[in-house]
Homo-oligomer: 363 residues x 2
Amino acid sequence: MAISERKKKILAAVVDEYIRTAEPVGSKAIAQSGCLNCSSATIRNELAELVAMGYLEQPHTSAGRVPTPMGYRMYVNELMEKQKLSLEETEEMNRRLNQKLQELDTTISDVSRLASQLTDYPALALTARSAVTVRRFDLIYVDANTFIIVLTLSSSVAKSKLVHLPVSVDQSMVQRLSSLFNSGFTGIEENQITPLLINSTERAADDTMGLTSVIAAFVIETLTEASTPTAYVSGENRLLNQPEFRDPDKAHRLMSYLSGGGYILPPAEGLESSGEVRVLIGPENVAEELKDSSVIVASYDAGDNTRGLIGVVGPTRMDYSAVAAKLSFLAAGLSRRLSSGSAPPEGMHNKLIIKGDDPNEHR
Amino acid sequence: MAISERKKKILAAVVDEYIRTAEPVGSKAIAQSGCLNCSSATIRNELAELVAMGYLEQPHTSAGRVPTPMGYRMYVNELMEKQKLSLEETEEMNRRLNQKLQELDTTISDVSRLASQLTDYPALALTARSAVTVRRFDLIYVDANTFIIVLTLSSSVAKSKLVHLPVSVDQSMVQRLSSLFNSGFTGIEENQITPLLINSTERAADDTMGLTSVIAAFVIETLTEASTPTAYVSGENRLLNQPEFRDPDKAHRLMSYLSGGGYILPPAEGLESSGEVRVLIGPENVAEELKDSSVIVASYDAGDNTRGLIGVVGPTRMDYSAVAAKLSFLAAGLSRRLSSGSAPPEGMHNKLIIKGDDPNEHR
DNA sequence: GTTGGCACTCTCAACTTCCGAGTGCTAATA
DNA sequence: TATTAGCACTCGGAAGTTGAGAGTGCCAAC
């Protein structure tokens, strides 16, 4: 059965009102809201039909109506007015985003924190790096017992490590290893680093002290770390602001789940363009713990064909429109700053390093 | 007025029982617990006096007694039996500690998570690095537009950064800068890096492209970061396990405070030897938000004359004895692994890098 | 100094009552 | 045929009531 225009309006009104008040919505409230010119009785009839159709439900006879997941779905897909952020809001967000991105390194987890602050829901951020390889090796000889490994990754990040040795090495050995690693270990992914490769390098370098395996271990570690998606969760405690989580047990369940990490995300994969937003309502989530919560995620482009996610978790009664707008904005801002060219994500703070900043900015 | 031996026993019994059950403790319960041979009436008399002395209080007439902060303080200082960890417990903790420390980098925040898991309270870890300087500079020339900065810090950690340039530089310039920084910027603290110093270096290097300031900025950033204490909080949500935080508002208040970072710690400074434990009970805390919670912290030695803290937060009704034992053990373990010599905290995973591992281990 | 006994207090859980919001239905109306 | 006004009915939740039980303080006896 098709849903009439008026029913849509009524459904939208119910969802809006419920999002605002967290209380079941009665026919009278809708009649008074003024967007329809008809009496509460008419609306009651319509409401009854919307219940029959599965868009709404009643907690009990003679309470107001509450949207079902199906109702929210309809709302998200067709009814809600896509919220435009006000000028002040975008400025505020830009300001804070810039501020965050000026700090180094922990960018992504900071953005997750920012998302949580802006939406007042728990937020999560997921990096999803794809294949990373070593582009270049440098070994710096410090003294007979110490050298530094410097790896330049395909993602244009340099990682280094200081190694102390219980035995002494000479400079020529370090040099030999450096060139061997540069030819043998660059451009390959972590899973292509086999014991065989390590052994042959060790023999070729005439290394009897196990230096090769130290270096190889660092390479494997670094590549694994760089290509493993990690999830950052922040603001779990904001859940307690929501009336539906006044039950400490319920809140605790979800919060532990969230703290546990981001097993939330399998269903959220497959977002294409950055800034695109996906909404998962209640039972649409695969995780049991999320079956009566909603997740909103936006994807961002981190360069190198990799994309990450930022999102928030809340009760099904979420302000989908506002949250979606904010996340989308954040994701887009993040993409602009991270993806363009192959500039390193960290430290765009200096004027000199201007590669691929926001193309809309005139400088 | 001095407190009699029997009163101490009774007080200890009340605290123990209250820690166990979170319910006010009645005279009968103590009489039956069997550690005193006297009737409940006698105990009632003693209890009344303990109330008068300020060690206990009654939520209302005709409820059992509950310890006051002063009562807890007495308990912690004199009465509680210092809990010994069982063999299984220490083994389990060692196992997990080793496991954590094999992973790199995020060690401290991992240990905080571990502390939270072990105690089932929210935990925090604070690094408190002191003055850090650069010990050595290396600039690696990659191509005309790219070079890598490698800083070796006095804390025996190497930090690196890949720099892309919009202009081209020649190798000799990079070399010049490298030696200038090595002579001018090593061994000094962040606050000694003045615009004057930067300017003179710039002129000496004949650098018209601002490379000097890029490098200097990275140095400042790195030193600042390395010497700024950071706090990691984990397991905030475990608070909800405690009956005293069943009120979501109360829980929320404390959790937000914790998520905000570690302003908790000023009062906890001044712990000397590592593994030493300090207990702050209720109003002894300076932070308003902690006035009816307790904090237990243990200090660890991170080498280089720096010490950090790990601790947990919970209701005043905490199992002080068990928690203190566990934290002390964790802190000691952490110290052993971090402090000895100047071995880098990260990556003890390889047999080769054996500097200053647990001296009790025979290998 | 210790104990048993007893009257008293106060909380908490269970139960009851009652109000009002909101419904569904019916009959009247446009 | 769609809408509206009116009305009886339902049900949840707040407020009030009650009773049981745990625990106390105090007194008199040991």
